[in-house]
């Protein structure tokens, strides 16, 4: 019962969508598949909320247990509620509620959340520069190829670097675009895309047939 029901649900759902690919949307199988897709967008929404509940529980437990850094966890909890609560009230009650421009939700996103996320990722520029200096070494022929290609691409993709490359005879930027990016790089990416897609397709078949059940967890 605990595993059979999910396996049957997985088979029927997956099979319906698989078969619907070969039928018009106006057929009954097409309509079933269309309805399943609407249903899954709803269930998918709940899965995101699951993550939020999980974060709230973890932080709440840390605050309750007065664990190290619990004060910061209070800040996280306040931030979650400050963003979430005004957003779930209808904007008809007050322009500060809801998600529209001028709401608390929109303000917190535009002036705090969005720039903070951008900054978090911007710090990676410093780390990658440091890593390039410390770890990017021409130890072997393979790593030398990698290093040379990376250097050439870094030069080519910026105006100052391209002007420098143009000082040399031959059209180096065109060579890089034709034979590196659209040649060797494209061929490798194509190989990886084909391999990964075959893997994804076979995994999908395993899920539909109930062979792959690891997503269910234990118990």
């Amino acid at each position: 019962m605990r595993t059979q029901v999910p396996v049957v649900v997985a088979f029927l759902t997956g099979f319906a969508l698989l078969v619907s690919f070969f039928f018009n949307e106006n057929t009954w199988i097409g309509q079933i598949s269309s309805e399943i897709k609407i249903w899954v967008t709803i269930v998918g929404g709940f899965t995101l909320l699951l993550g939020v509940v999980s974060i709230t529980r973890v932080n709440w437990a840390a605050v309750k247990g007065r664990k190290e850094g619990w004060g910061y966890k209070v800040v996280t909890l306040i931030s979650i509620f400050a963003m979430a609560i005004p957003a779930v009230f209808p904007s008809t009650w007050s322009p500060l509620f809801g998600r529209a421009e001028g709401s608390i939700y929109d303000w917190l996103f535009v002036y705090l959340d969005s720039p903070m996320m951008a900054t978090m990722f911007a710090t990676l520029a410093f780390y990658i520069a440091s890593a390039a200096y410390r770890a990017f070494r021409a130890r072997t022929p393979e790593s030398t190829i990698l290093l040379l290609t990376a250097t050439a691409v870094m030069l080519w993709r910026v105006p100052m670097g391209e002007a420098f490359l143009n000082l040399f005879p031959g059209n180096i930027p065109e060579f890089l675009n034709t034979y590196i990016m659209n040649g060797a790089n494209m061929a490798v990416q194509r190989g990886i895309i084909i391999g990964a897609a075959l893997g994804a397709a076979s995994m999908s078949l395993r899920i539909i047939l109930g062979i792959e059940r690891t997503y269910m967890g234990k118990g």
Binding site: V5, V9, A10, T13, A16, L17, L18, W39, V40, I42, V43, G45, L49, G51, V53, I55, T56, Y72, L77, S79, I80, F81, A84, A87, V88, L108, F109, Y111, L112, P115, T119, A122, T123, A125, F126, I128, E142, L147, L148, T149, V153, M154, T178, I180, M181, G183, N185, M186, A187, R190, I193, I194, G195, A197, A201, M203, S204, I207, I208, Y215
Partner: protein, 211 residues
């Protein structure tokens, strides 16, 4: 620029500099900003899902007569059974539904939308009418695709002809990864430029309004 606009710019500048302060060393201001960021991001999901999924996709259509949407609603609520160890197995049905839908769409789309078009684009005449350069390009692409696929084929030991082809594959892969590294540097630097553009143009620009 009015007072509110200046205040908003300074809020962004403070949060930006607070997060950058970690580059010097870990400190309480950074930690505070980091926890605010984590909380706001989680809270954003609640507002979005409440409005776009629960109200727009579930509740309002149900009120309009599509009562059967109660079933995905129940499947969604069952997901929360994961928080109760005794009943966590109940959430498997919802999870199976989501996984199988994705699998059902993927099975065909990955083959039809990725494998076949990419193979088709590779199966080109080796000798091109467009000239020597085009012929050379075609040869590079065909050798690159085959040798990469063989490099990632681990069911047989890489010896003999297979080993030589895999060795060619690794050389191609290194070129591609080098290009990837160059592009990654570019991407990360661009993100930093975005923040510096704000700090220089908007924040430092606001100084003249205040001082």
């Amino acid at each position: 620029m009015n007072f509110i606009e200046i205040f908003e710019i300074w809020v962004i500048a403070f949060s930006t500099l607070a997060l950058f302060s970690f580059l010097y060393k870990d400190n309480p201001i950074y930690k505070l900003a980091e926890h605010i960021f984590a909380g706001l991001s989680a809270g954003y999901y609640v507002g979005l899902i409440w409005d776009t999924v629960i109200l727009q996709q579930l509740w309002n259509p149900m009120l309009d007569g599509r009562w059967w949407l109660i079933f995905p609603g129940i499947l969604g609520i069952l997901m929360f059974a994961r928080f109760f160890p005794k009943f966590s197995w109940v959430s498997r049905t919802s999870l199976a539904f989501v996984m199988a839908t994705t699998a059902g769409i993927f099975l065909i789309s990955q083959l039809h939308g990725l494998v076949l078009p990419q193979l088709k684009a590779t199966m080109l005449p080796l000798v091109s009418d467009a000239g020597i350069a085009a012929t050379f390009s075609s040869i590079i692409v065909i050798i690159g695709v085959i040798s990469t696929l063989i490099y990632f084929y681990f069911s047989k030991e890489h010896v003999g002809a297979l080993g030589v082809t895999a060795k060619v594959g690794i050389w191609f892969i290194m070129i591609s990864f080098g290009a990837h590294f160059g592009y990654t540097v570019m991407g990360r630097v661009s993100l930093l430029i975005g923040r510096v553009q704000f700090l220089y143009e908007d924040w430092i620009g606001s100084f003249s309004q205040i001082f």
